[in-house]
């Protein structure tokens, strides 16, 4: 068993970055995720593993530092919160286009605009539909506990390098600020320069002796070549949809109704399910762990199983519900319940919404 600690989600994410063998973290403070860079600076990761930590002058600079470091085959990471993630969208588009692996964590807060600093899930569209310009998708992992804030860091890097893509960790102020018990995984050593060069021949880290130079770019002025590159990207996204969907089912075996919720909302919904079952209402929970690719097949399986309605519970005005609707169509009832602007729904009001919108509606 690994080391047990009581940590904030943000601290667990930072500690996991050190332990996962990240080479460079580049970030800019913003509430409610500043603990990430504060923790990293205090921990002196350069002494522990050789990891570099740099406070950039802006989120725009930070994401481009990831581009530089990631394009050489090194593990690069940043984190921010909603307004900062908006500033990074240009960079994410370039990273996706140039196929540069890296990990970006968004500790979501209320919006739009400057919004507030309380937890929200209103960056779902931005996370799963592209966010920046051009045809691209990013794998999106949504932790629902402090433990997952730690575990999803190495998981994200595995995906990032397997598919040569940026990976988003989408959490929120609640998971970021909350403390829970976390079992820390053992430190994985950083790859040496030689290992990076051998393992990632695409890395622009100095032209190989006697070999060809490498170019890392998202530019191709020939539309036919660029279309071909897009075909390649789309193939990659289809493979991700086929192979990398992750989800959790709770109490779904006998469920008449299913709440679909991720991250913080899924935690609150678990309580709602307990309350419902005390009243004899058979409710289950489908928790998407990958927001993209979305667990469509699982929703189909639940319909086949006889589920009579889905309630999407989100701290947003209704974003994930669109993906549920795309999957369900008119086969069964789908509704959304959400609080937004940084307001967290209570377990009781979720249950009430289920009764009103799905069971009675």
């Amino acid at each position: 068993m690994g080391e047990l600690k009581l940590m904030k989600g943000n601290e667990a994410l930072a500690e996991a970055a050190i332990r996962a063998g990240v080479d460079g973290y580049f970030g800019y403070p913003i509430t409610p995720q500043s603990e990430v860079i504060e923790y990293l600076m205090a921990e002196k990761p350069h002494d522990r593993t050789g990891m570099v930590v740099l406070q950039a002058e802006s989120e725009v600079a930070a994401i481009n530092m990831l581009y530089g470091a990631g394009a050489t085959g090194k593990k690069a990471m940043t984190s921010s919160s909603s307004p900062g993630i908006s500033l990074m969208q240009e960079g994410l588009s370039y990273l996706a286009g140039a196929e540069i692996p890296c990990v970006v964590a968004n500790i979501v807060r209320g919006g739009p605009g400057l919004g507030d600093i309380q937890p929200a899930q209103s960056d779902y569209f931005q996370s799963v539909k592209g966010g920046g310009h051009g045809d691209y998708r990013l794998p999106v992992l949504a932790p629902a506990s402090v433990q997952e804030m730690s575990d999803f860091v190495p998981l994200s890097f595995d995906l990032a390098f397997k598919y040569r893509t940026p990976v988003l960790i989408v959490s929120d102020g609640l998971i970021g600020q909350m403390m829970e018990k976390v079992e820390l995984f053992d430190t994985m050593p950083r790859l040496t320069d030689e290992e990076v060069t051998a393992r990632y021949p695409w890395g622009t880290n100095g032209k190989p002796k006697g070999g060809e130079r490498r170019i890392m770019t998202s530019l191709d002025l020939d539309p036919h070549k660029l279309e071909k590159h897009n075909f390649h990207l789309q193939d990659k996204y289809r493979t991700l949809e086929e192979d990398e969907v992750k989800y959790e089912l709770i109490d779904c075996d006998d469920a008449d109704y299913v709440i679909v919720a991720y991250g913080s909302s899924s935690r609150i919904a678990q309580k709602s399910i307990q309350l419902a079952r005390k009243e004899g209402i058979k409710v289950g929970l489908l928790r998407p762990i990958t927001l993209w690719p979305f667990p469509k097949k699982q929703i189909n399986a639940l319909i086949k199983q006889g589920v009579k309605g889905f309630l999407s519970v989100e701290m947003s005005a209704g974003q994930m519900v669109e993906d549920i609707l795309l999957t369900v169509g008119d086969r069964t009832k789908v509704a959304h319940f959400g609080r937004y602007g940084g307001v967290i729904h209570s377990p009781e009001e979720v249950l009430e919404a289920l009764k009103q919108k799905i069971i009675g509606g």
Binding site: L4, K5, L6, T31, P32, D116, I117, Q118, G173, L174, Q177, M178, M179, E180, K181, S264, R267, I268, Q270, K271, I273, Q274, I344, S346, P347, E348
Partner: protein, 180 residues
Amino acid sequence: MTEEIIIAGFGGQGVLSMGKILAYSGIMQDQEVSWMPSYGPEMRGGTANVTVIVSDERISSPTLTCYDTAIILNQQSMDKFESTVKPGGVLIYDPNGITHFPTRTDITIYTIEGAKLAADMGNTKIFNMVVLGAYLKVKPIVQLENVIKGLKKSLPERYHKLIPLNEDAITMGMKNVVTS
């Protein structure tokens, strides 16, 4: 066993660290714990509160609307949280600074003169440990030895010399909590 607690008072009273020590104590005896603070501008000189859950099972929602126990350390928190205690639950408060006393009859109400006792002991910083002692007397959800272990885990090494003082404060709280 699942115990859902709200601890609320002024920033600087040690509300968050009391919750943290309680959570760490739970970990020391293999329980699941969560600690969810209020955060943001309201913390700066204003009220601070934290929801702590200690359970034998996986914890669902870390934020709640009603609690088994409310530990209340100022008037604003009394106004806000008295009504959130579940029927049959517990409310513990320090009467220091309270002008409108709790009135509910479907819960058990205790008082602890935390501020006064800490001052008598010569260190107002151990106020929160006195209150923690009062709580543990009423709800012994974690054993004292695990609280000490939790303190060791949550305090930096340089503060370990203060652990005996904290232990005294907890004992003081245990001895002096009274039903109101």
